[in-house]
């Protein structure tokens, strides 16, 4: 090396430091420092640049720079001193400049130091610094020093902004600094590539450290935004660059690996690029493997579909990695098919896992599928079972889509699973994932397409024919002229009677019963089903005579023919019967809810009918006016204030009700005809029987077991009934019973049930008068409150996996809070 220049440089440095010291002490301006600096610079270049400096020289150069920084402005000849910082060893320069930023004294002012630092960055000294770092690493530099340097490089923006506070120049903002650093990294990589091509060995680990530390500091976007596009370009056809790139990532220390890998996965424009950039990293590095195969797929779920596609595509692109792909698929399927995961993880995560499964499937090849067909089949069966079991429609649909896809993959010849579900954007997106390269034109088929296709199916159809094959009328040819008015000699008859056909429906309720139970005449049956509701509403007296019988028939009525909206027609009729004769019919329906030999559908129908009827009964209506068929739809309750006299009456009534203690039992209380709420008198009949048997499983019906969908509906029904029973006499008793019920079920695993429970509490809080709440059920309320979130454990508000549940719980807490405020405001 430059051995002869060494002593010379040492001497010059010593002199220069002494000259600077003198100048600082004398506070004079002399030629001394300027000449000394000039000598230093020329000696440095003579010695072969900062890279050639040995340990001793470095230390002396450091001392020289430090004294330069400490020297007063006048002692530093302009231009020369900057050159010393720029041309000296970059690590030392950076270190001393950063020190100078913070120090107060006669030397370099912070502003000057910042300007110097800025120049340092702008003139590309960062890359020299990194290169220097690499060299030192290669020659076994001291690790502490390396760490300190690393720290300085990565934390430079924080450092500078700490020192300069508000006067930080924009170049030190992270969004500007890190791209700069990225560019420097690229330059260093270029140098490394050049030296490798020159046959020299090079260490890259310092750059890897820098990259890792930047990434762990959360600046992946800035630095990789510069690195990835350029590296993508460079690695396209150059295997040395590929190796550099692989090495760059491999040398990242384990503690920073996750951030780096994730950054690459998120930013790579495609799986092939990712494969070029990362190589077989996941096979070599345990940490990277864990991140790629476990953390991103199974533990996190916030990544976009493109990230998933990148990642799984990357795994599929190399034979070594394909083994991982299969393992990943198995693990994903295990999670997908685990009933506990389906119950307890949020739907977003399940969607994410489903997406990952579908992408994995799209990458599998025939022999691979062959090898794991049995496992796929088993996990599919398990998964589809627990998904279909879920009471959230989104999860059910997810299960169906994934199961369909798996079955279509494993059964290439045989029959495949086919579910019926409504198409929406999500299912379409999911299914598009199964196709690796989306077809060029995915256009929804137009009606014209089919005829086009059918035409194509017949090879002999001439081309010219195709256009005319649509159903649009074609203008008649010339022959039409001849027959323009040829029909005119035929005189038409009167055709005004030609109306739409109507089949006469029965006029009496009893006839309807006859038709519905025994008639073979399908048309008449149809007409009866259609007419029944209005018939019931028009003849309440006649209906009451046969109400229970009619309710029974309607409950068991099956769809004989394909009538449009049969289910709705039947439901309307059921609601009409129930509202016409509430007590006996509700008694019948609620008893049937817990009896044997009904399908789940029928049981849920019963609940729906009860809710709709309660809604209708609680709506204000006026006697004497015929009800229309849409009457049972929930209508908006008249707002107080529309009619001041009624409003007044109601307020007084309410006040009387709240102040009066009644000793009568609830059945004998019949409200006068003008009553706005007919439901309040019968609310108990609707409500209590439903609570009675929920914990007694029948052979065919187990509410607390697998029929949790019905339980969910039941709970929601109870919530609605409770809400509608506002101002009813029985409301307190109902509330109490409901709180008990909620308490027993509060840890139910199905989120739909939990949502229902929370709505129960909401409606309870809204329906039961506040005074009664406090008087009769304080303890229960407090318990509930602690369950919801006041206590630190088991609180719904924070710990429930379902987002809707959390929201509802919060809402309940707010309601309770309001209640408390109200009570405080009006001291009793």
């Amino acid at each position: 090396m430059a051995a002869p220049a060494g002593p010379e440089l040492e001497r010059v440095l010593r002199e220069a430091a002494a000259a600077l010291g003198r100048a600082g002490a004398a506070e004079g301006t002399g030629q001394g420092p300027a000449a000394a600096l000039g000598a230093v610079l020329s000696a440095l270049s003579a010695a072969g640049g900062p890279a050639a400096l040995g340990e001793r020289e470095r230390a002396q150069f450091g001392a020289f720079l430090r004294s330069l920084a400490r020297a007063p402005g006048a002692a530093r000849p302009d231009g020369e001193w900057q050159r010393c910082f720029l041309e000296g060893p970059p690590g030392l320069a950076l270190c001393i400049l950063l020190e100078a930023l913070g120090s107060a004294g006669p030397g370099l002012a912070p502003r000057e130091a910042a300007a110097m630092l800025e120049r340092f960055l702008r003139e590309g000294r960062l890359s020299a610094l990194l290169w220097d770092g690499c060299q030192q690493q290669a020659h076994g530099g001291c690790p502490e020093q390396q760490d300190a340097l690393l720290n300085r490089i990565v934390c430079l923006p924080e450092h500078v902004s700490n020192k300069l506070q508000g006067e930080n120049p924009p170049v030190f903002f992270p969004q500007n600094y890190f791209p700069l650093l990225g560019a420097a990294v690229l330059q260093v990589l270029q140098m490394i590539s050049d030296s490798l091509r020159g046959g020299l060995d090079c260490s890259i680990s310092f750059v890897s450290h820098v990259l890792g530390k930047v990434c762990i500091h959360g600046r992946q976007k800035e630095i990789l935004g510069v690195l990835v596009p350029r590296l993508t370009e460079l690695t396209k056809s150059d295997c040395i660059w590929q190796r550099i790139c692989w090495r760059l990532v491999e040398c990242v220390p384990e503690r920073w690996m996750e951030a780096v890998v994730l950054g690459f996965v998120q930013r790579a424009p495609g799986s092939d690029v990712l494969s070029r950039l990362l190589g077989n990293l996941v096979v070599k590095n345990k940490k990277a493997q864990f991140v790629v195969t476990q953390k991103v797929l199974l533990l996190q779920y916030g990544h976009t579909t493109a990230v998933l596609q990148n990642l799984l595509g990357y795994l599929s692109l190399d034979s070594l990695r394909r083994a991982l792909l299969l393992r990943v698929l198995q693990e994903l399927l295990e999670t997908w098919g685990s009933s506990s995961a389906v119950k307890h993880s949020p739907p977003e995560q399940q969607l994410y896992i489903s997406k990952a499964i579908l992408i994995c499937l799209s990458h599998l090849k025939e022999p691979e599928i062959e090898s794991c067909r049995q496992e796929l089949l088993t996990s599919m069966m398990e998964g589809v079972k627990c998904h279909l079991d879920s009471s959230l429609p989104q999860l059910r649909r997810l299960g169906m889509v994934v199961a369909e896809s798996i079955s279509s993959k494993i059964n290439t010849e045989g029959p495949v699973l086919k579910f019926e579900y409504e198409e929406d954007d999500e299912t379409r997106e999911l299914r598009s994932l199964l196709v690796q390269t989306p077809p060029l034109c995915v256009v929804p088929s137009l009606p014209g397409d089919e005829s086009e296709k059918a035409g194509a199916a017949l090879p002999l159809v001439p081309e010219s024919n195709k256009k005319s094959q649509t159903a649009a009328p074609v203008m008649p040819d010339k022959e039409s002229d001849a027959e323009l008015d040829s029909d005119d000699d035929l005189v038409p008859y009167d055709m005004s009677e030609d109306k739409e056909l109507k089949i006469k429906a029965p006029v009496y309720i009893r006839d309807c019963i006859e038709v519905l139970t025994g008639s073979e005449d399908v048309d008449k049956w149809e007409a009866t089903v259609k007419a029944l509701e209005s018939l019931i509403r028009r003849n309440p007296a006649a209906t009451r005579e046969v109400s229970v019988e009619l309710a029974k028939i309607l409950l068991h009525l099956e769809e004989k023919t394909c009538i449009e909206g049969f289910v709705e027609l039947r439901q309307r009729a059921q609601v009409a019967v129930l509202t016409t004769d509430p007590i006996p019919v509700s008694k019948y329906l609620t008893s049937q809810f817990y009896s044997l030999n009904y399908s789940l559908r029928q049981r849920m129908d019963i609940l729906d009918v009860l809710v709709l009827a309660a809604q209708e009964l609680s709506c204000p209506k006026f006697h004497g006016k015929p009800k229309h068929s849409d009457a049972q739809k929930p209508r908006i309750q008249l707002l107080p204030g529309n009619d001041s006299s009624k409003d007044w009456r109601r307020i007084v009534d309410e006040r009387i009700k709240s102040k009066t203690r009644r000793f009568a039992t609830r059945q004998c209380h019949v409200e006068p005809a003008s009553s706005p709420n007919q439901f309040s008198s019968v609310a108990g009949h609707f409500f209590f029987p439903l609570l009675q048997h929920f914990d007694r499983p029948l052979t065919t019906f187990d509410l607390l077991g697998e029929d949790h969908l019905v339980l969910g509906r039941l709970v929601h029904t109870l919530a609605v009934l409770m809400y509608l029973a506002v101002n009813a006499v029985a409301v307190t008793a109902m509330g109490k019973a409901l709180l008990e019920f909620v308490w027993t079920l509060r840890f139910h695993t199905d989120s739909y049930v939990r949502q229902g429970l929370l709505s129960c509490i909401s409606s309870l809080l809204l329906s039961v008068p506040a005074e009664l709440l406090l008087a009769d059920m304080t303890e229960e309320l407090l318990e509930t409150q602690s369950w919801l979130g006041a206590a630190s454990f088991a609180d719904m508000v924070e710990k429930d996996p379902d987002g809707d549940c959390r929201r509802l719980a919060l809402q309940n807490l707010l309601l309770m809070e309001n209640l408390k405020k109200k009570l405080e405001a009006v001291p009793s």
Binding site: N465, Q469, P473, Y493, E500
Partner: protein
């Protein structure tokens, strides 16, 4: 202004020759005059049926006239009904001459004559096509073809030469049509759609020739709503037209004007034409009030056509422009079939309609010119 009850000359039809034959239970009754109101100056009210034939005690599925014979021959009407009987109605006496039982009490849904009224072809739900010899009072099945077709598609006949007939019928294969020569029963070809085409079953067929001796062609309406023109000798599809969204229930074709009409279970009639390149194209569509057409027939003189509707009504249209002419509302259940007679005297020509209400109504319409 209300018209009083219209005097109607219905006794003529009801006159019974002394000692008339036939099953006593099967009686033909004149129609009681119905009250109708109309306002002077407006269109005439639709006519009542000229006669109603009752007594088959089953829904009528098919009708066929044989009236073109020479003077000693009496005009007859064949009717096939759901109980598997074919009734031969004497149109002079309006009585049943004979009841033929050849389909094992399974519904008969197609009856055709081959030449005169003595040679009859019938198709039933027992999956057989029977050939009858009715000459000199015989009532025997001379031959039968097993189609193995389970649908309701009526077969279609065309005369190739004296004594040689071509018959198209839906075959055993789901989408196939088989063409046979009769009476030899030799198979001419089987018409199968392209592999992968989802046409469904054939629903209605019409064999025809442009002129006597030229190549026979077949129009077939399918379950998916399309009509296909087949070249029978080559066994190839020439053209396909998707004219309905629902199954094509019936079609008829006018080979002089090379125009046809089809009806489906929807509310639309579709008229299409065949151009010189043998391509089918839609010519016109007509919207109906009620959905469902079970039969369409163009009168042999190509002036009018009749449709049988699921809405119990028979509709009459001018054939050239599809001008609506009349809506005949007599039946009380879906009309299954309509048929025109081929009387030599145009004034005697009749329209017959058979319905699920077990009645056959006879109408005389637009017989003047």
């Amino acid at each position: 202004m209300r018209a009083s009850r219209r005097p109607r000359d219905v006794t003529r039809g009801a006159r019974r020759p002394p000692g008339s034959r036939g099953d006593r239970r099967i009686i033909a009754a004149p129609l009681p005059p119905r009250r109708r109101s109309f306002i002077a100056g407006m269109a005439l009210p639709p006519p009542d049926p000229q006669f109603v034939l009752r007594g088959t005690s089953a829904a009528i599925h098919t009708l066929h006239f044989s009236c073109g014979g020479q003077e000693p021959d009496l005009p007859v009407l064949f009717s096939g009904s759901e109980n598997g009987l074919i009734h031969v109605w004497n149109l002079k006496t309006h009585r049943v001459d004979t009841a033929l039982d050849g389909h094992g009490r399974k519904s008969v849904y197609c009856v055709e004559t081959m030449g005169g009224k003595d040679r009859l072809l019938s198709q039933g739900r027992d999956q057989r096509i029977c050939l009858w010899d009715l000459a000199e009072g015989r009532t025997s099945v001379t031959d039968s073809v097993c189609t193995e077709h389970v649908g309701f598609c009526r077969c279609s006949l065309v005369q190739l030469a004296q004594g040689r007939w071509l018959m198209a019928t839906a075959a055993k294969g789901l989408q196939e049509v088989q063409v046979l020569e009769l009476p030899s029963k030799t198979s001419v070809c089987t018409l199968k759609p392209e592999v992968g085409a989802k046409l469904g079953m054939p629903m209605c067929l019409k064999l025809w020739q442009l002129s006597c001796g030229s190549q026979p062609l077949l129009l077939a309406g399918y379950e998916d709503g399309s009509v296909i023109l087949w070249n029978v000798t080559m066994g190839k599809a020439l053209s396909q037209l998707i004219c309905h969204q629902e199954p094509v229930m019936s079609l008829d074709f006018d080979s002089e004007r090379t125009k046809g009409i089809s009806g489906s279970s929807e509310k639309v009639l579709c008229i299409w034409s065949l151009n010189e390149q043998q391509n089918l194209q839609v010519y016109k569509t007509h919207e109906l009030v009620n959905a469902g057409i079970s039969d369409i027939t163009i009168r042999p003189d190509k002036k009018i056509l009749a449709t049988a509707g699921w809405d119990h009504r028979i509709r009459i249209f001018g054939w050239k422009k599809l001008k609506p002419l009349a809506v005949l509302d007599y039946h009380t259940a879906a009309v299954h079939c309509v048929s025109f007679s081929e009387h030599r005297n145009p004034r005697e020509r009749l329209l017959a309609a058979g319905s699920r209400d077990q009645r056959i109504s006879l109408w005389s319409l637009y017989t003047q010119s």
